[in-house]
């Protein structure tokens, strides 16, 4: 009771900010916690229910080292928690389900805490940790400490999707020389990785270093792709004495790779492949890709560890910096048709009323490779002609640059107060700046480029400056390397304080944690835009969001074999800076009605651990409220590029998870894991639409238009909501074999909110076929896949030699849709939902991974 009061005092702000309904939910959680204390008894048998510390086992095929670690080209998808070796659901699904872009409980990666040496690695703009920062360094970024879901965390407050902490202290690596070569047909084909670690030497020093390269794409599914990556890692630690140690880690992973396009089903069918890539075309005898991403974001991290000899305390402090650039090239054009081969006007369907043209386009698409790929030569010719006439280049390759710099510091403490009480807490302070701009990458034979916006209304007699993206350089002839279009920065300063208390008793364990965060954000414009000359340059107003969270949980240990676990988390979270500005490329104006997002989540698990069977059965229920989202698209009714700012989105996820493992004899284990979830929108959010052409197209004398999106009960997309696997593992004398079959279902297309508005419905009757075609949410067909792997290692004196082969999607199923979405553009003229049809990404067919490891110790 005492503690509950204390909790209320700690975070009055948080309590006052949430609605009565949510208060009652919180009250229930607190009640559960209070009841828990009353039942507590004295007993020495304690257990960390699901927290798992990685331990080295030999010959595990699904080891993070042996996994293709690349982010997929859609971005945003980060593999689930690896290595929760003790959890029968997570352990058997996190890698297996990744082929379908499965997200556990439908929760996005931005709700997961990823830390290194206890300091968070989240990118404050995207809200997600960027795993590519340590891409290729699998040997040293191995066996993180994973905390699943809502369980208590020792290095952070934690988040809805759990927490992960990698350790890069040089002394944490065993003395070794390690070499690894991998061959695969995924994003890259080859990886060579060398690692050296001294272990803790007698002089108190420890050094660990790793270098790797990833290259080749000839074996990849996607045509016109390329990959080249290098990675380095160096960690040096000085252990001064048994209490003090200082470590410096530096790493980076410069990578250049091409991107795959997405397409409509019509395009995939015409091209005869679900991996058709519109991004490349023949140029000079080579497949030249217009979309190349170059990333280099190095990290420097200094870590201080203090562990007093009394074993009561453990303090970790970090100071670090990350910085670097990600640039992505893309075609741009002026006063000419869209040059992308799969632009909707280049497809047969656009000519469906004209059989002659329809047949012509169909024939060209199916038989002429040059027709369905980028025509570089004609762009060069057009530009050269324009150059001769003294005109602007009509096509260019632009470079969209995102560069960031971050300074961060934190300190975490773990205190064992008594045999029953453990207190953990921390403070984290950081400043993040991300600058976004475009430069000219290639003029493609043209002589110069003008800084004008092709979507701006150039005919407005009232304002001749609307066209110009950079009012201070009107008419400047831009060349390669020059900035154009937009140039602005996001600034974010964040401070965080958290504490968790963990209580351990005979039959009851419980924990309570609190969290407080302030986030300050603003935009700084470096270009004076013709459409918003007065509020595009300089600093915007600064917004400060104060947020809090509380986390409680109780474990009832019926006996050493059966456990009941109830966990809950309630928090508020500042909106992402990406979602708060109406039109961030050109304006300092904020979306109105900005609020912190609220999350409430609880799960209840029954865990069984018998020698003959291990099982976890869980139910979870989560609510996401006041979510903010911003995107832009071409609005046919307004004839303008518009910004679509949604606020107050509510979503609800609930479902069940079941994992079972049954050992058969000493060599075999049969396992099954599955989940059924239901993720839906639960309200009707508001949307504010602003035209980006600066012209008052809405004609109401205001620059924006507000409407309601009617999408209650539609499905939230982004992950299969049903996934299951059944498999068998074999483990004998360092041989490891596994085979499993998987099923994915309830895969939905992400819906376009605009199609669920009164504006889009017009006056259509709900039974009209047109209406039905507008609002029906596509559900993709459920799919089966199979995987198999085999591995073996040999110990030869002081060294270990091992290999493993894993084959994913053994049956070569090429119909598993990983991502599907309705295009934002909508045909207001004819209400024809098929004019801008859904787009898809498909999972690769059979892929393999072959790894050979040699370790000398």
């Amino acid at each position: 009771m005492d503690f509950a009061n204390k909790f209320v005092h700690l975070h009055p702000i948080f309590i006052n900010r949430i609605s009565p309904m949510k208060k009652s939910f919180l009250a229930a959680l607190i009640l559960a916690f209070v009841c828990g204390t009353a039942f507590s008894q004295e007993d020495k048998s304690s257990k960390d229910s699901v927290t798992v510390q990685g331990t080295e086992t030999v010959g595990t095929a699904f080891d993070s080292e042996n996994v293709d670690d690349e982010e997929t080209s859609t971005g945003g998808f980060v593999p689930g928690l690896l290595h929760s070796a003790q959890d029968v659901f997570s352990n058997n699904t996190s890698y297996t389900f990744s082929i379908a872009y499965f997200k556990a409980r439908g929760i996005d990666a931005r709700y997961q805490t990823v830390a290194i040496n206890g300091i968070e690695m989240e990118n404050l703009v995207t809200g997600r940790a960027s795993y590519s920062q340590w891409g290729g360094l699998n040997r040293v970024f191995r066996w993180p400490e994973n905390v699943l879901n809502l369980n208590p965390t020792t290095f952070a407050f934690g988040d809805l999707a759990g927490s992960t902490n990698f350790t890069t202290r040089a002394s944490s690596y065993r003395k070794q020389i390690h070499a690894n070569y991998s061959l695969t047909n995924r994003s890259y084909n080859n990886r060579l990785m060398l690692t050296y670690a001294t272990g803790l030497m007698k002089n108190g020093w420890a050094v660990a270093a790793s270098a790797s390269t990833r290259f080749g794409s000839a074996l990849s599914y996607v045509d016109g792709s390329s990959y080249l990556g290098g990675s380095y890692f160096l960690s040096v630690e000085k252990v001064f004495n048994s209490e003090h140690a200082l470590n410096l880690s530096v790493w980076g992973s410069p990578t250049q790779r091409s991107l795959q396009s997405n397409a409509t089903q019509e395009v995939y069918d015409l091209a005869g492949s679900h991996y058709y890539n519109a991004n490349w075309g023949w140029y000079d005898g080579e497949k030249r890709n217009a979309r190349i991403r170059t990333t280099f974001e190095p990290v420097f991290l200094m870590t201080y560890n203090f562990t007093p000899d009394n074993n009561k305390l453990q303090i970790t402090a970090n100071i670090g910096t990350t910085f670097g650039k990600q640039s992505t090239t893309s075609l741009n054009w002026a006063n000419v048709p869209d040059p992308r081969p799969d632009y909707y006007r280049n497809l047969p369907s656009y000519y469906k009323d004209d059989p002659l043209l329809f047949n012509y386009y169909t024939e060209q698409w199916t038989t002429n490779e040059n027709f369905r790929q980028i025509d570089w030569m004609s762009m060069y010719e057009t530009n050269q002609l324009a150059a001769q006439l003294g005109n602007q280049a009509q096509y260019i390759v632009e470079n969209r640059v995102i560069s960031h710099v971050q300074a961060m510091a934190n300190a975490n403490i773990i205190a064992n107060l008594t045999d029953h009480i453990k207190l953990m807490g921390g403070v984290d302070i950081r400043a993040f700046k991300q600058r976004n701009y475009k430069t000219i990458n290639d003029l493609l034979g043209g002589s110069y480029w003008l800084n004008e916006d092709k979507y701006a209304d150039g005919e407005s007699p009232d304002n001749p400056y609307l066209l110009y993206d950079d009012l201070d350089n009107i008419g400047a002839h831009l060349g390669v390397g020059d900035k154009f279009g937009y140039d602005y920065a996001y600034h974010i300063n964040r401070q965080n304080l958290w504490a968790t208390a963990k209580f351990t008793y005979a039959h009851i364990d419980f924990h309570v944690g609190v969290n407080g965060t302030t986030t300050e954000m603003w935009r700084h414009g470096y270009m004076r835009n013709g459409r918003f000359p007065d509020n595009s340059q300089g600093n915007s107003e600064k917004k400060i969001f104060s947020d809090g969270g509380v986390k409680v949980g109780i474990t009832y240990k019926i006996n050493g074999r059966n456990y009941l676990v109830l966990n809950g988390l309630a928090q508020t979270m500042a909106p992402r800076v990406l979602d708060v500005f109406i039109s961030p490329t050109i304006r300092n104006d904020y979306v109105s009605n900005l609020k912190s997002e609220k999350n409430l989540m609880a799960d209840f698990s029954y865990i069984m651990r018998y020698p003959f069977m291990r099982m976890r059965l869980s139910a979870y229920y989560g609510m996401f409220m006041d979510v903010t989202s911003l995107f832009s698209f071409y609005h046919d009714d307004y004839g303008s590029y518009v910004n679509y700012a949604m606020t107050g989105i509510n979503k609800r996820n609930y479902g069940f998870e079941l994992g079972v493992e049954v050992p058969i004899g000493s060599m075999f284990t049969v396992y099954a894991a599955g989940t059924w979830g239901d993720y839906r929108y639960t309200n009707r959010p508001d949307v504010t639409i602003t035209a980006d052409n600066g012209y008052d197209i809405l004609g109401n004398g205001e620059s924006q238009y507000t409407e309601t999106v009617y999408w209650k009960n539609f499905h939230v997309a982004g992950s299969p909501q049903v996934a299951a696997t059944l498999g068998v593992k074999f483990n004998y004398k360092y041989w490891f074999v596994s085979i499993n079959a998987n099923y994915f279902d309830k895969i939905y297309a992400d819906i376009n909110p605009e199609r669920r508005t009164t504006a889009a419905r017009g006056t259509l009757s709900t039974d009209s076929p047109i209406y039905q075609s507008l609002i029906a949410q596509e559900r993709l067909k459920g799919q089966f896949t199979m995987d198999a792997s085999i591995g073996k290692s040999w110990k030869i004196k002081n060294s270990t030699l091992g290999f493993n082969i894993s084959v994913t999607n053994l049956t070569n199923n090429k119909n598993l849709v990983t991502t599907a979405w309705e295009q934002r553009r909508f045909d207001y003229k004819n209400y024809d939902a098929s004019k801008y049809p859904n787009k898809y990404y498909y999972a690769f067919g059979t892929t393999f991974y072959l790894g050979i490891n040699y370790t000398f110790q």
């Binding site: 019926i558 069940f656 009960n713 009164t758």
Partner: protein
Amino acid sequence: MNTIHKIKLAVIAALLLVAGVSCDKELDVAPVMTYDGQANMTIAELNQLHPVGSEDSFDSIPAGTVISGIIVSSDQEGNCYKYLTIQDETGGIQIKIDNSSLYPKYQIGQRIYVECKDLVIGDYRKNRQLGFWSSGSMAGIASSQEPLYIFRDGLVGAEPAPIVLNSKNEVTEDMLNRLVILKECHFANPGETYSDPAASTSRDIVMSDNSIIVLRTSNYAKFASQPLPNGTGDIVGILTVYNTTLQLTIRDLNDVRIANTPAVETVELYSVDFSNDPIANQGWSVLGDEGWFYYTQGAAFAIQNQATTAIDSWLVSPALSNLGGYDNVTLSMPNEQCQVTNGTAYKYYSVDFNGTDVNSATWTEIPSNGILPAEVTNNPNLRIAFRFNGINGDFWRISELKITGVTNN
């Protein structure tokens, strides 16, 4: 252990219960568009703002004017192009819009409100229109500007009842740009297409009192090449005027409610080519006594008997197997010269002639009107025969022969 077992069961049961409750949620539905306001002028009042003159002209509309009406036009079939016609109880008006695909948004029966703002009311050849005045004529509202002027209100309703017209003379000015039904009328020239391929075309509709209203159809209408139906019935459409000519515009072919009774068509089913010896080449045969022959100079069948003893000569046709399915199958032999006054001449048909023995077949005389009975025209073994029992200078000459039938619909 028993307790544990109970807990397990309870947990599993609870989870299953939640799962059972969860499925099948009703999907949200956005409300239909409505107009938040009222009309403050009738269409008749709006039309009165603009008296039509000898030249196309326009008049401005008072600020704040809102009219309302129900859409009766549709460009779905391509006959109405870049305009909406709306009507209320007092009158109708054409709204010009620079958009060639209006029907998905603006369906027949839809109530709309028009905020007239800077629109003007003018005319094109005396037909009133709402739009802009530009370089001496009426111009449409730009497609992107539609939402600023035109507001849909509620679900699509029924099409308004058309005004009943029996005569052109019943038309009054308030009926223009409204839906009318022309009762008991017919097309002056059925079978012609609705429109010529090259340009919009006028076709006369004859009212029951023989007054004429013109059907005006665009050559871009999807039904432009269809034939005008034959018969009498009703036609629905939008009544407009072109100077002094009353014109009707149909939206689609369902507007033309005339049960087509195509004119019976007479088809030539068989004829003899007398330029080319039919006896040698076209299956005709001479049986019985000699007599019938092909008279080359006269291009005819011919027979003559100067003798005082009669002959019995048969000219038999080939099997006429293609006469089935027609009504009034008629044998005609214009310009036939049959001077058989002393003997006898017969025109027969038979369905059981074996090709050689005329006497074993059953022959029936063809009636004087030449019509072959329906029960034999369907028989593929039908033949006709000309039997000559002439004497003392009788002769018979056939220089034309055809069999016609009438299509039976």
